[in-house]
């Protein structure tokens, strides 16, 4: 990715890049450390259709949300040389069976042979969660296993 860095004298810096659809996406970093997410508009590439002020925490959270797929892709890469093993992520739907219950209660390893390697919550990654880890609606559970195992995992986590 070619990220352009443009100084904004008296204000801060703008960092943005072109995405495939022809829009610019980027961040303005103010001198006082505030962030602003910018998305250029479709009709007029010079203009911005959105510029959203974000606090440091909000920016970090968003980065985490966007980074989760990359984490899964990375795990998938790491296991790619082992035949028959793949990595998938499953959401814990708010209000579903495991919302508010522990990882141990899923008995996932016993029932499917697949293991939970990480849970992504609000952009923050908890690696190798223990059996007493409590799920919350909206968590993304990253699971490594065989194709069969992952199929069963989908049934369990999706419907219990």
């Amino acid at each position: 990715m070619n990220v352009e860095v443009t100084p904004l004298p008296g204000i801060g810096t703008r960092q943005d890049f072109m995405i495939r659809s022809g829009r610019r996406i980027g961040v303005i970093t103010y001198r006082d450390g505030k962030f602003e997410l910018i998305v250029s508009s479709k009709e007029d590439p010079d203009d911005c259709s959105a510029s959203i002020p974000l606090s440091t925490t909000e920016a970090g959270t968003l980065a985490g949300l966007l980074g989760a797929p990359q984490l899964v892709a990375q795990l998938r890469d790491e296991h790619s040389d082992i035949a028959g093993i793949s990595t998938k992520q499953f959401p814990i739907v708010p209000g579903s069976v495991f919302d508010g219950r522990t990882l141990g209660e899923t008995e996932l390893r016993t029932r499917t042979g697949a293991s939970i390697v990480a849970v992504v919550r609000a952009g923050a990654v908890s690696p190798s969660p223990r059996p007493d880890f409590v799920f919350v609606g909206g968590d993304l559970v990253v699971v490594v296993g065989t194709v069969d195992g992952l199929q069963q995992t989908a049934d369990i986590l999706g419907g219990g």
């Binding site: 100084p7 204000i11 703008r14 943005d16 602003e36 250029s40 009709e43 203009d47 911005c48 510029s51």
Partner: protein
């Protein structure tokens, strides 16, 4: 004791009233500066309520207001930004001077105010209000736009131009003869060069002198050094404003950023007072005779700023709609035009009507600027519909976002 009570009540009423005015201004999406001026005009010569007992404080406060306005203008850009800005945008900067100083200079000459009056008026019509512009661009969510760096680099250039212009103006206003004027100009140019060199090479030392990890100490040192430098400059027949400005340029890096954050509320407070006092000292009756001229000047200099922004953006490969936005963004004039007018009138070297003309002009431009920045897109699109150009399609989407609420920054 009784008089103190009266003074406090008056001051409180003035500040509270200014607060209300500022709130109204940002609500309707204009800068509060014109409202402060109108407030001052209303209370001035035979206005509603003659203020008594706080003139002395108001006078000192308005002086401090000018000092802080220019100190923060100097702080706004680091020396490195000034240099790169100079390299990258000098063509647009020169065009900006030619197009926007000329109308003011011509009017000054036509009114028979002589070369000094022409020089002062040139400054009044030339300098855009970086405060208003940065605020409006932020409110409209245009900081991420591609044409915005173009607008900002023009403002950086104007800042540098001010660094050269202000000492020259103050030297000329001090009534130096032509030959003496030349040497004064030479001295002021030398001073600028020295200050810029110090800022570039030894800015960290100047910064280290005022810097302090403790907020309270930092604030006291900052304000102390600003007033000291301003006072000494004033004593040396360079104006206080120029001294503060040069100090601002010399302070650099993170110190400058912290200083800006620290002083902004103070600047807003004292600058508001400055505008009010300027309005107080201007006779409302002197405005109507120059109003026609001010309107003509406003129309012409709106067009010239739009042309400047258009051309500067075109050079950076911005499309037509963006060029129009860049041009409209630059229209606003404000605090620095009033500072120039106030320096000029205070010196007594130029016809007092200059204050009335500058007031009327800034009243128009401080309102017109933000409005122009807002309506330029719909206008340009209308133009596209009417077939003036075929760059942009029509959008039903109304781009005029409501301004966010924030504290008035003068």
């Amino acid at each position: 004791m009784h008089s103190t009570a009266i003074a406090l009540i008056q001051l409180g009423a003035v500040f509270f009233g200014l607060g209300l005015l500022g709130r109204i201004a940002w609500r309707i999406g204009i800068s509060p500066i014109p409202l402060y001026l109108i407030g001052g005009l209303a209370f001035g010569h035979g206005g509603f309520v003659p203020l008594s007992g706080i003139e002395e404080f108001a006078h000192i406060a308005s002086e401090i207001g000018v000092i802080l306005l220019l100190l923060l203008l100097g702080l706004e850009y680091s020396a490195a930004e000034l240099m790169t800005g100079l390299k990258r945008s000098w063509t647009a900067g020169v065009l900006d001077i030619v197009l926007n100083a000329a109308p003011g200079a011509i009017v000054g000459l036509l009114l028979g105010w002589g070369p000094v009056g022409a020089l002062a008026m040139a400054g009044v019509t030339y300098i855009s209000s970086s405060g208003i512009i940065a605020k409006v661009l932020g409110d409209l969510g245009r900081l991420g736009n591609r044409e915005t760096p173009v607008v900002l680099s023009v403002l950086v250039f104007e800042d540098l131009a001010m660094a050269v212009y202000l000492p020259i103006l103050t030297a000329v206003l001090a009534g130096v003869s032509f030959l003496g004027g030349l040497s004064a100009v030479g001295i002021s140019l030398a001073a600028i060069t020295i200050v810029l060199l110090i800022a570039l090479k030894y800015g960290r030392f100047v910064s280290a002198i005022v810097d302090s990890p403790d907020a309270e100490v930092f604030l006291l040192k900052l304000l102390g050094s600003a007033l000291l430098v301003a006072g000494i400059a004033s004593q040396l027949q360079v104006s206080a404003a120029v001294g503060a400005f040069l100090l601002g340029i010399a302070i650099s890096g993170s110190t400058a950023e912290n200083a800006t954050r620290m002083l902004e509320p103070l600047r807003d407070l004292f600058a508001a007072m400055f505008f009010v006092v300027f309005g107080l000292n201007t006779d409302p009756a002197s405005i109507p005779p120059v109003l026609g001229l001010a309107v003509a000047l406003a129309v012409v200099t709106t067009a010239t700023k739009v042309a400047t922004g258009w051309w500067a953006a075109k050079r950076q490969g911005i499309a037509k709609l963006g060029r129009a936005r860049a041009g409209a963004a630059l229209v606003a004039r404000g605090e620095f035009s009033i500072v120039i007018a106030s320096l000029t009138v205070a010196s007594g070297a130029v016809d007092g009507r200059l204050a009335a003309l500058a007031t009327a002009y800034v009243l128009l431009m401080a309102i017109l600027g933000p409005v122009a920045a807002r309506i330029v897109e719909p206008l340009a699109k209308l133009g596209a519909v009417w077939g003036w150009d075929h760059v942009v399609g029509v959008r039903v989407f109304n781009h005029m976002m409501a301004p966010r609420r924030c504290s008035p920054a003068s």
